[in-house]
Symmetry: C2
Subunit: 353 residues, 2 copies
Amino acid sequence: MSGGSGTRLWPLSRTAHPKQLHALVSDMTMIQETVSRVAETRKDFRFAPPIVILNERQHALARLQLDALGVRPSHFVVEPVARNTAAVAAVAATLVAREHGDDAIVLLLPADHHIRKPDAFHDAIEAALSLANSDHIITFGIEPSTPETGYGYIERGEPVATGYRVKRFTEKPVREVAERFVAAGDFYWNAGIFMFGSGAVLAEMDALCPDISVISREALANGMVDGDLITLCADAFSRCPANSFDYAVMEKTERAAVIPADIGWSDVGAWNALWEIADDKTPEGNVSRGDVHFVDTQNSYVMAAGRRVGVVGLDNVVIVVTDDAVLVSDGARTQDVKVLVNALVDEGRGDLL
Amino acid sequence: MSGGSGTRLWPLSRTAHPKQLHALVSDMTMIQETVSRVAETRKDFRFAPPIVILNERQHALARLQLDALGVRPSHFVVEPVARNTAAVAAVAATLVAREHGDDAIVLLLPADHHIRKPDAFHDAIEAALSLANSDHIITFGIEPSTPETGYGYIERGEPVATGYRVKRFTEKPVREVAERFVAAGDFYWNAGIFMFGSGAVLAEMDALCPDISVISREALANGMVDGDLITLCADAFSRCPANSFDYAVMEKTERAAVIPADIGWSDVGAWNALWEIADDKTPEGNVSRGDVHFVDTQNSYVMAAGRRVGVVGLDNVVIVVTDDAVLVSDGARTQDVKVLVNALVDEGRGDLL
C-alpha cells in the first residue's frame, strides 16, 4: 500500500514525492525498505513478488526505486481516486486469488512504516501463518510503550493458536483511556499490517461490506492493463465507499486475530518519530541530516537539504529545510504540521503541496 | 562609519554584504537610513555631504545604494585593513579640517544603527552644537531601559551647557552592576555616536593617542585618490593601532560630555533587536518578513527570503532563512550567533561568511 501522501512530514513529503518515496531512516527509501523486507525466503514460507498499489503521480518514481533495487513487482495497481485501505485489501485479495488461488495468503503492508527488527517481523509472519490458513484475519499488535493517542488499540481476547482473538478495537482513545490501556497490559497498538487468506477475506467482505468488495472487483475487472500496470476503472472505483480495513472489516469480523509483534515498529507518522528511531543521536540527543551546527541545543532533529543550518540555545525542536520551504516545530507538536499543510491547501499553494 | 561586518546578523549579514547594506527595519538599507537622517537642513545647522568610510568589498554596493537615494558623499574612504573607530575618527576629522576648516563639526555615525525618532535626534545634535563649539567631545547617551550587559555605560557628572560632563565610562558591566546602573538613574548607554570639532579632536588625539592620529593622517596623505574615492595607504594604515574611539579618547579626555538622547535608538546588534524594534507585531507578538505561517507560536521573529516557513508551537525564537543557510535560535540567545560564525571560520567556509 503506497498511496499515502505523508502530510505530516511536510515540507519533505509532497503529493508527487510522498514519504514512502524518501530515504528517511536509512539510505533506502521507505518503499525500498518495505519490499526488501518481503524479499527473503524462509523455511516455512516464501514471498511471491509484491503487488504495489499507489496513485498515478507516484507511479513513475516508485517504479524507478524498485527497479534500482532489482525488485520486479507482479503488478503496479494505480488507484484513479483514493478509497482508503478496505478497497485496497479487496483489490489485492482479488488479484492474489486470481493468480495464486483462494488459499494464497496476502500480507497487506503499508509502504511507509519502519521495522527495526526484520527477523522478528519474519517470525511474526511465520507465527501468523497457521491462523491465516484457518481463515482468520490477522493484525499485528505492537506492545504500547507510551499512551499514544494517535493510534488504534487492540484488546486481546482468549488465545488462539500462536496469537489471540481480538476482543475489541478502540480507535485513537483520549489520554486517560490510553494510559489505562497501557497499564492493563493486554492491549496492543494496531500496526495497520494485516494478513489473511485471499479467498477468506473476500468472503468476509462480501458478508460485511459487499459494496466495497463488489465494486473493487468491478474496478479491477474493468481496469486498463498495460503490461504489469493495472489502472483501476475510474468510473467504478469512484463509486466505492472510502473506508479503512479496520472499520470495514476488523472491527466487525468474528475472525479477527492479533499476533503480538515485537518488531521495532514505527509508522513514522510525524517528524518526532524520526528523532525517536534515529540510532545516531549525539550525547546531547541531537540528530542531524546534512550540514548542521548546534550550539547549546539538545534533543533536536534537523534535516537540511543543501543548506547550512545553525541552531542556538534550543531544546526539543524539529527543523526541516527543503529547496522551497522550512519547517520549525516544537518536537512535541509535530502532529500539527498538518495545520500548516491545510493552510497551504486553503491558500491554493499547490506548488508547496 | 560603514566598515563593520555585522557578524551577529548571520546568515543575512555577510562580509561582502554586511548588515548596513541590508534593509532590516524599513525598505531602506541601514546606510540609506543613516545618510537620510543627516540630509535635512535645520534652522541652526546644516549637514555637509557625508564622508563614507568602509572596506573595499563593500564599496561598490554602498555606492549603488547611496546613488539610488540621490545622495552624493564628498568622499568614499576605503580602509585597506580594519583599524577600529579611533583611526576612523582621525581620518574623518583630518578630511573635514582640510575641506571645511578646524572649526567644522564632525558627527561620527555608525551606518548600521536604527533611530526611530529622527526629529529628536536632530534636537540632540542641536543641543550638542554649543558643546562641540567649545571644544568638547560629545557622546550621545541613551537612557537604559534594561540592564543590558553588551553595552558601554556612561555615568554623568555635573551639568555643562545643554549636557553633562562624563564622570566615568564602564564597558560591558556584569549583570549586577548593570542593574545598579539602571536603578541609579544617572547612567546612559553609550550609543557610539560622537560629535566634535575637527581641530579639537585631532589636538586631543595628538595628546592622548598620537600613534593613531599621526599614522591616520599619514595613511590619508599617502592614500590613492580617484575622484571621490580615497584608498588609505595600506603600508601606513597597517601600522595604526586598532583601538576604539571610546577607549583611545573618550575614557581619557577631560573634554568628554554626554548629551541625553531620547531618540529611539537601537544598534540592531543581534536578531532579537529586530524583533524588539518591529512596530508590526501580531497580537501574539510575532514578526514576519516573507512568506511565513505561524501555528500556536508567540514572540517570534522570522525572516524568509523566497521560501515558505512554517512554525509550530514555539515561543521566542528567531528564524532567518537565506539562499544558502538557515538560523534557528532561542530569542534570548541571538548574541551567540557569533559562535556559529566562528565555527564557519574554523571550517574554512568562506562561502558562508
